[in-house]
Symmetry: C3
Subunit: 259 residues, 3 copies
């Protein structure tokens, strides 16, 4: 099976365009996310110019989602309240054809969570963003390029796989993004925040493959800029917020490593 | 209708006095606040020398509030647990005549939340701190000076309105505070933290109008000091904690812009 | 009653060994902790090379704990979900003889919490880490060296008492650790994070007395390094994450103040 590689220039340009649109349009992004990630996720979205909301209340989550441009569902806190909120949020998103991202955190460590994730994938997310262990737990196979393409194609989703090199696949196209910094794995909720950036990019870019690649580039380049100055994970977490706030097309174009 | 402007010197001096009292008396402030804001709010209060508590448990929230000097009720997480905790906390505060602040976060995006906020205002907060959209959602009118004064007077509360310039009104008096920094709107829970500072000031200053003005001045001046060195919202959020910790009467007197 | 003082060199060496083992083995540590502390606690554990998890869901907490090397139970959020998760987590830990740490936050301000803490102590934690007021609330006496030793011996636990000087006691041995920095008390969840470091050390050091002393040394030395550069509590909280990430045996040996 052949996977036509997307031209580096196209994807990089799309990331620059998405970044500019985030600042111009300030999209609202609703996040059902885990308790550890909520604060950092909100700050990442604010740094990029978005307007985050996080409510889980059954009385209002549908209304909140209806007023947004994209939704994130992150399974990192797997409680009854969030499971109910997730169903209501997806219903509201589906009714308005809003794009949504699933981040199946730690499904490789919890069977009930993996089952819930599989059911959610059947309900039509635009993108599933996850790491290698989480992919294996859901797909039942290691994330080779062919496996990613097959899983994406079968489920009509885009897969955004995090790792030392990130991979984006949608069944037809595949892209590898080699940006990032080792300290990203030493800050809690960094992956969760990248999924939120993906949702934000979906709010301003309808092609889910392009939006996901754009988000991974932004996050990776932001991480590299933060890593240049960081003394450790504390200053890195602060620095990536500063970097994302100041990120511009020149830095993205200079640093993006797409193949 | 005339609103006698409070003298700049009086309000500035009151902010300096409140700041000194916070450090001397280390008041306990109980916060029922949203999940995104809890950590930052606690750190802001600690930076100013206060002792925050955050429990929501029905078994103990009344006892916690009874041992504090002021209460914050923030509606940013609108779940059943917090609604119950809010009722118990307000009951405990009312029995001991403790001052409390209402922060009706995002009532402009949720009808059930707006209704709950209106009911809470009827139960006697000292101060309602909110932004323009939230005021409009509750009061049914835009926040002109007359509308603020009328709403404050009718409900026997102080209104602390955040915006590019903050406004404090209590029906008789009005003050405008032009301190602050643009990055304050790029850090999640910054407004929530300002409401917590307001509760802290109420613990050491019985005049709610003066306490609210003092809190907005402290927060705004702290934001300006942080903004002088910040590289973006990440370092700004860190810097405002440092600035509030080191804030002194000289900085407040030099920077306060009250009219 | 005599308490043989543990040799400074032994404890300091044990802290260096535990630190190296954390980096080599990357132990998984499950934390049932309060909402305010979750993010900072996870970041402290990541900075030291551990893999934190935080789920509270009854459907999966047992399975998560079973896959870890140590457990933290922190009572700072005293809700029904966490009480249930605590019982399931302790059951899973007991079945696998995993060490666990109890941090009875604010038991001095809540009678129901103090009762729950006493019941948990009867169910066999390795270590109870707490401050003076919390000790007094549980033990019914002030934390003199004799009282610490008696309480530790009677309950077959190690007591790790935080204060200007920390004290570790297990009924036979006692150690005092004079490291730390005044800004540690101005950052929310700092004590909670120290308890998490204690759990991490138990994952790599079976002697609970030594593990607790090692954890208090690491945290205190990390705090001193952060304090050397901090401008206030904001930069201090960032700096201690950086310091723990870079902490090495040389710094521990040079700075440890054990008696």
């Amino acid at each position: 099976m052949q996977h036509p590689t997307t031209a580096r220039e196209d994807v990089t340009q799309a990331a620059c365009t998405a970044l500019a649109r985030l600042r111009e349009t300030a999209p609202r992004v609703h996040c059902i996310t885990n308790a550890v990630a909520q604060n950092f996720t909100a700050n990442v979205l604010l740094a990029l110019g978005c307007v985050p909301s996080m409510t889980l209340s059954a009385a209002e989550v549908g209304g909140f989602v209806a007023g947004t441009q994209a939704l994130l569902v992150n399974l990192g806190t797997f409680d009854a309240e969030r499971r109910q909120a997730t169903e209501l949020a997806i219903k509201a998103a589906s009714e308005r054809k809003l794009p949504w991202v699933l981040d199946p955190v730690f499904v490789d460590r919890s069977q009930p969570r993996a089952e819930f994730a599989r059911a959610l994938i059947a309900s039509g997310p635009s993108v599933v963003r996850l790491n290698r262990g989480e992919f294996a737990a859901i797909a039942g196979t290691n994330p080779s390029p062919d496996a990613l393409a097959a899983f994406a194609g079968d489920n009509k989703i885009v897969v955004g796989l995090s790792g030392e090199t990130d991979t984006v696949a949608d069944g037809q196209r595949i892209a590898c993004i080699a940006n990032g910094h080792k300290l990203m794995s030493r800050v809690t909720a960094m992956g969760c925040a990248v999924s939120a950036i993906t949702a934000a990019c979906l709010a301003v870019e309808r092609d889910g493959f392009v939006a996901t690649a754009a988000a991974l580039i932004m996050a990776g380049v932001g991480g590299e800029i933060a890593g240049d100055k960081a003394q450790g994970p504390g200053s890195f977490a602060v620095g990536i917020l500063d970097a994302l706030y100041s990120l511009d097309a020149a830095a993205v174009a200079a640093r993006a490593r797409v193949s």
